[in-house]
Point group: C2
Chain length 326, copies 2
Amino acid sequence: MTNYRIDNLQYANWSEKIFRQMREGGVDAVHVTIAYHENFRETVLNIEQWNRWFEQYPDLIFHGEWASDVAKARETGRTAIFFGFQNPSPIEDDIGLVAVLHKLGARFMQLSYNNQSLLATGCYEAEDPGITRMGKQVIKEMNRVGLVIDMSHSADRSTIEAADLSTRPITVTHANLHAWQPALRNKRDDVVRAVTQNGGMMGFSLYPHHLKDKSACTLTSFCEMIARAAEQFGAEHFGIGSDLCQDQPDSVVEWMRVGRWSKEIDYGEGSAAAPGFPPMPEWFRDNRDFGNIEAGLREIGFNAEETAGLMGNNWHRFFAENFTPE
Amino acid sequence: MTNYRIDNLQYANWSEKIFRQMREGGVDAVHVTIAYHENFRETVLNIEQWNRWFEQYPDLIFHGEWASDVAKARETGRTAIFFGFQNPSPIEDDIGLVAVLHKLGARFMQLSYNNQSLLATGCYEAEDPGITRMGKQVIKEMNRVGLVIDMSHSADRSTIEAADLSTRPITVTHANLHAWQPALRNKRDDVVRAVTQNGGMMGFSLYPHHLKDKSACTLTSFCEMIARAAEQFGAEHFGIGSDLCQDQPDSVVEWMRVGRWSKEIDYGEGSAAAPGFPPMPEWFRDNRDFGNIEAGLREIGFNAEETAGLMGNNWHRFFAENFTPE
């Protein structure tokens, strides 16, 4: 059996350098964010930009659509790029765009990003009334076409309701255990349980605000958290979703945080004193360092199969089961 | 060898009745127009409407994307629906939309519709300065991704230049010989030669304004025209593109003719006294009557293989060679 290496969330300032680092790190597939606040037409412009990169760097990357593309990536020595949205803004108020965007390659969509959306509540809202009327319809449509529900930035009640309403497994593509690092975005046990108990998956994040001791977090501490999650919920439900935001200028953090919804700056997990991206932990600078995580997982006591699952095989299995129409 | 029946142009007021008539007529594939003047977003709305029909009538129709879908249609007793545009309006001023729309299923695009477009000149313009700067770039991109150039409503010089510039065969999906019926939209010999000599195809139209004696045209006269074209240019370059506009109200003829580009009505091939669709010839009412054309072709002297080519196998071969990326 081939062991695949998959990172299920990145939003870098893409360049040939980064695509080469993916190859150096032996990363077979990356789920990349192509929309934070973009509407449909703007999302299509982002797809057009990716099409240009696929044309310019055919030896390094190609558009991934199905689990079989992960094998194709390995066979051809390239990285398969899978598209996802951190917000349902690309579908606007039009349920017909779910199928259209799946056809264009979208494979993950968050039902909300920090704020209330048309579908669900975000994790920064004071109140969480749960999945909306449109949200229930869209969950059904996402299930039908094979667009995976991602609740990484959603509030707890909305997340648990989404897991219940969805007939197919859902995900938190990038977050850590709240019990390990009590960041607002990290997930409490009842949320992790709701996501994983029906076959769902969670990806562990390397975003420093989600790490214990932030940029100073040790590899051992990170792997201990994974061991704890595996013990509680089963190692097969976890993988990596690094949230790598490599080479992004601070203006992009600002776009992620306020889009067009506010004239006032909102620092999210940062602050006025530290508005940008915090430095990455030294053992995970970028795509070249997945080997460090793999070594850390073995060190902490995971066996070879569990480690291979966490490094990519679990996401690969999830892709195979959840990207195709019902 | 299976003989396929393909109609390479229809724009009906789609309904379950019409889909059932496709089955009754044994039509394996239909190229349907999904844009006349629509911009990108409006075209996507039309795709969404087709997605609903595919969901509602899965036993009658499905979305056709490749030549292999014609075989799949035959095997499953359904009709494969291929998308096309009669105008480049869906790509707006954005060459990146060529690949996006091909991904969404577009397989034919006219470079102009009656008027000057951003790419080429339409057949109703007084002057035809040929393919534009953007037109040259878009032809290259259409060749690259496998979106077929259709010059049905374009002016002669633009058509001949497109045939020369394109590295892949081009089409006139729906028109007849000008020498048989001198309608503005019918094609002169030099145009037919330019289209067919590099492997291109032309589909014969049943639109009464393009027929000799219009609605009173006889089946024999229609088949004689086909025999003449076959003799002059080779039978393998021809098929049917009926231009069937079944059940459309006059308001749709008006939309086709003036879209949003004029406040004054333009009657095209009609007139103030007869602004709507003329009645179809009695031997071709709708999809149920392809058998009449097939019988007429045998009657006029085409052998079994030539007849099968004209009824669909030629288009099938063309689909196989021209819908995939270079």
